[in-house]
Symmetry: C2
Subunit: 196 residues, 2 copies
DNA sequence: CGCTAAAATGAGGCACAGTCCGGTTGGTGG
DNA sequence: CCACCAACCGGACTGTGCCTCATTTTAGCG
């Protein structure tokens, strides 16, 4: 019998053991932001690796799938969105709170050329599959805000959070390079939510 | 000076001169429908050529760009949509006519796994670029139906056809494999269109 | 310092887009 | 019926991107 090292073999996610690994990871995310902003959600991963001064194998070691990289890119933004949502839950005007949050979600969806819209949508589909932790949080906050607005009576009763979020994602995708139009479309959505 | 043949060198679009060419073109469109339905808008063109029993060069001869092939695939459907729209223009209930047509447009957007939704959206963007003739027709019919519904007073005044169509495309894209959700989202849109 | 596990490298296999040229063929005029 | 040629086709080829894996490098511990 050979004794295995009993130290936990798993490094915490997003925080590799060795210094060089941490460095490379950072550079990758950094360049990914640039390239995604330039070329949208289906930018070349090899290109990102190239710009980060790293071989492609290294990129795949840190981010096995494209989605993993995207998550890393969006992480900060998303947690901000969740935080805002929680704050808005204590806002006086329930409907206004919902609208404000939806607007923020739309802005978020528009970043990186509709990148996050694509992710949001694909994430909303397979809800069993643990695609990501933060998507569940977004969903939860959205549900809470919507429920509150509904209770106030100014929002139609049969609106479901999944639908509303999907719609925001759809708007972000469709109007990804026309923010003014995105705004108008969101207004249309909000109108549809109000009680007749 | 050498006399050039004075016959018009351009065959009518979609109707090549030679019998084998016509045959191949048909088989390509036929198989394209199958493959697009299976794999969505970014299916492999090589695969389509393979299934049609034709070399890839032949595919590109008939359809220089992916969009050209897509147009050929959708042509019939789209003209049906336009025809329906024109008929609905004489319908008594202006709002109901609009809704019916939007529903048909959504159904159309859902075919071939959101293929046409993707096309519709990219087409709606560059309106100067002569992407396709039929897209202009769809837009025209949509505009007419919307204007009529607006005149009846039951639809908000500031709704623009470009926005509404974009929204339908967005819904089709987002809910491409959940027709029930697509329906609910369309209802949300229609709600937003109604006068408060 | 050495040693080892962690990490990085980069060539290579595979799939797809799109181009191009040499060979083939449909159909027309004689 | 046949010869001819423009129209057409095949398929090899280039380029790009995704992703894997055997090999080499290196950080950091003892």
């Amino acid at each position: 019998m050979i004794a295995l090292p009993d130290r936990d073999p798993r490094p915490p996610a997003g925080q590799p053991r060795r210094a060089d690994a941490r460095r490379n990871r950072e550079r990758l995310v950094e360049q990914a932001k640039v390239v995604f902003a330039e070329s949208g959600a289906d930018a070349s991963l090899d290109e990102i690796a190239r710009r980060a001064g790293v071989a492609s194998g290294t990129l795949y070691r840190h981010f096995p799938t494209r989605l993993d990289l995207v998550e890393a890119v969006l992480a900060g933004q998303v947690s901000g969105l969740v935080r805002l949502g929680r704050e808005l839950l204590t806002d006086e005007d329930e409907v206004e709170a919902l609208i404000t949050w939806l607007r923020a979600a739309l802005r978020h969806g528009l970043t990186y050329r509709g990148l996050s819209a694509a992710v949001l949508n694909s994430a909303l589909d397979r809800d069993d599959d643990p695609v990501s932790a933060w998507h569940a949080e977004v969903f939860e906050v959205g549900t809470a805000l919507l429920a509150r607005a509904r209770r106030s009576g100014a929002v139609v009763a049969d609106a479901v959070a999944a639908d509303v979020l999907k719609m925001v994602g759809a708007i972000a995708w469709a109007a990804q390079d026309d923010p003014a139009q995105a705004d108008r479309l969101l207004t249309l959505l909000v109108n549809g939510l109000r009680h007749p």
